[in-house]
Symmetry: C3
Subunit: 342 residues, 3 copies
């Protein structure tokens, strides 16, 4: 085991040559674009499906194999996956189903930087990594007593928008905190519009690519509640967003600062897709309240057709699933797989 | 005449061979994608335009002929259309202009299942078909007296979002029902975000395809009214939506259940495009409040570039107009036209 | 100098032949699509960047040269730009950085109709041009005393949504007008949903093309303010919109009427991209409250993949950047450059 609990990558990659690799991912979240992208790049594809969901993925021409299993059993299938020369591409549901500790320790080469998982699981460490990167972040309150305005409360391990709530003032906060169990973080509520910024860090090309943007479509905050329900932030889908071009250079700089902070604190760059989640104020200040150290569902707004921003780097547009597969294929071809997996 | 008022399809198809078919549609709604898709599949194209609207369609390179006429006269043009070996592709405005009875009886081969038209014209039968399919639907109140919470009222034959209104409570409902004429249905108002689900049932391939999603852009409910106006639901346009991938298998199952219920009740599958219209709660429950048994305007979010979801079935993305034309062309080529038209 | 302050175009074009033209634009706003479109049409590309922003554009493969300079110095670089046979493509940030008078007088061939700039700088002349075109416009109040309902106030030279505010009634208007300096216009607030309509006028083909639609994503009006902040209209981004097809013919007619009015009042058609900005009421009436006589950021919703509506005119979809470059290239090839630049 190397530092941080992840297994030694050299050992995991034994027998992984230049050809005949497979991409494996959990059959949910962004699996369609991940598996389709892999197939388009000539890789084999494995969908790892929770019971009862395999049928959906087995109908797709670009899915070679469907392994249906209780995902808590996935670590036991590591040898089987390695024998198929599979690289796991993690996403939000992967971590949710498998658990972050198992995801950290699983003995299968995993695309990206696993060491980030431990940071993501802890809201305070998460915010501290963004602060170290010099990003503008909302104020974090160390206790409910400090609060003097509207806030957002986030429970640790909140996923897909569940486990967030809004409180207008200290009174409402006190009420709503009753009955909350487990650790949470209280953040200043920033007024503005949400914008989610997607990046791809390529170790092979030594660069950070600006990939695109989306807005989450959330129930009930985007519903027509007419005051009938409290705002909730459960993610139902995503909407494509074109961000004001004048913001792009500074957003890319922010992404680069974040990548450097990750390198410094985990010993590795973020590798592959990550996202910085923000509110844009009407002063056009971008305030980051969250990051995701792996592919997020919002990249699916570019599924199949590809992100127009990817044209800044390539001659044809690619989606995030394909971009991941390109990096894996190119790494394998140049004997550099150990730089893109952990 | 066969059961239900539609003419015998065998007779209508006399003289329709494998080649030289035309697609005819009313010049509005989704005519651009229908006619462009037909041309891309090698079919001739006829735009049937209400007076004063033909000029717009006659400028498009993929429109072969424009027939400008009062659409109430369309039944009289049936022989002319049959002599051109035209298949009518119906859409929401077609039914609106021509009337559902005329659409039911017109002596021109009509793509899809005409028998659904009668069900669509009656809000209670509509809801009952969805209930029979086992879909989760909002509560329907049998009288205003029963109402105990917020509701949506839908007039029969409501189109494009006109003829709907919201009432917060029994008092507001009573006020707003004054002056309403004609039959209506009162439904529980479901809190959440709207999502419109699009499908294509292919009799040739014997399968239901998940086609995509959109959100309607409605005036005034999506306006910036600042409390200056009541919410109204007139459809001004559509916005593309990427639905959370974890919902896709159950949404497709819901579509399959609906297709089976249609088969059972009308003796035919839905054939071609249909849509199920829902509210997604913050529990991620999908509640269906409406269906459309033909192409809806929301599919135009995929116009020209094609739906990314269509890649699950085909090697290049197709839009709904093209998907319809593919089915017609393939049916003609394999002598199975009578399975895709009524 | 010709009438209106713009230099004589014949003189500017000396030495501009059929080949080896460059497109130059200010590195912001819609520069990515403008420069990529130019490269795709075989033109050279020059990004004129404000200090500190050149690095972002210099990474793009389709940008041949980056000139970093204080943009107030741009007029002094006219000869240099002409020696590179550059055509400036203006956009909102160009006018903002360079100033409308300098943009009017700069001795570099400028794509489009410069004479419109003077009209755009004055909110009253702007509205009058739309009225002359016969477009439905909101009521303009000649003084705050006249106001009897909700209004929008627009300062002259408002850009990117800054310099607009909403007032619910005469009292709020009076309050908010305190401290406002410089000229402004008070308009009736129209209830409905915003829709931005994009057009391209081609002098070479002698036609107006309907290009597409978007909705602005504005902070705070589209934010989740929960009543915590006043609505503000600063543009953070754009969202793609599919407009109801039944509105398209009249929207195109409105565009044609506007183009005729521009021709009449400035002696030239609008040339190239322009936009009409509207609110659509729930009666489906389209009320125009603004125009832009050049490319707007909203066209970027079609960046790279192209507008589906462009298929009405061409065999493959094009984005607005590419459409501009097509017109420049074709004009150069047919010796008609003087018809597309001023």
């Amino acid at each position: 085991m190397s530092a941080g609990g992840a297994p030694d990558v050299g050992g995991l990659l034994e027998g992984y040559g230049a050809g005949d690799l497979a991409v494996a991912t959990v059959a949910s979240h962004t699996a369609i674009q991940i598996l389709l992208g892999a197939k388009r790049e000539g890789l084999r594809t494995i969908a790892i499906a929770p019971p009862g969901r395999g049928w959906f993925y087995s109908r797709m021409w670009f899915v070679d194999d469907v392994l249906e299993m209780d995902l808590r059993e996935l670590p036991a299938a590591a040898e089987e996956l390695r024998s198929r020369r599979a690289v796991i591409v993690p996403h939000g549901s992967y971590v949710e189903y498998v658990g972050w500790r198992a995801a950290m320790e699983i003995r299968v080469p995993t695309f990206g930087n696993r060491y980030l998982l431990a940071w993501e699981a802890d809201q305070r460490r998460k915010m501290s990594l963004m602060e170290e990167a010099g990003l503008r972040v909302p104020r974090t309150y160390s206790s409910p007593e400090e609060v003097d305005g509207p806030v957002i409360v986030k429970l640790y391990g909140a996923k897909g928008g569940r486990g967030y709530f809004f409180a207008r003032d200290p009174e409402e906060l006190r009420d709503r905190l009753r009955g909350v169990e487990g650790p949470y973080i209280i953040q200043e509520y920033v007024v503005g519009v949400p914008a989610y910024h997607h990046f791809f860090y390529s170790p092979l090309r030594g660069r950070l690519e600006l990939f695109g943007f989306d807005v989450r479509y959330e129930s009930n905050v985007d519903g027509r509640t007419f005051g009938l329900a409290d705002p909730t932030f459960v993610v139902v889908g995503n909407l494509p967003l074109v961000l004001r071009e004048s913001l792009l250079p500074s957003v890319l700089r922010d992404g680069e600062s974040f990548a450097s902070a990750v390198q410094e604190r985990t010993g590795r760059p973020p590798v592959g897709p990550f996202s910085l989640e923000s509110i844009v104020r009407d002063t056009l200040e971008v305030v980051y309240f969250e990051f995701s150290g792996r592919i997020v569902a919002g990249t699916s707004v570019y599924m199949v057709h590809g992100s127009p921003y990817s044209l800044m780097y390539f001659r044809e547009p690619v989606d995030m699933g394909r971009r991941i597969a390109m990096e894996i294929r190119e790494a394998a071809e140049s004997g550099r797989l150990s730089e893109v997996v952990t």
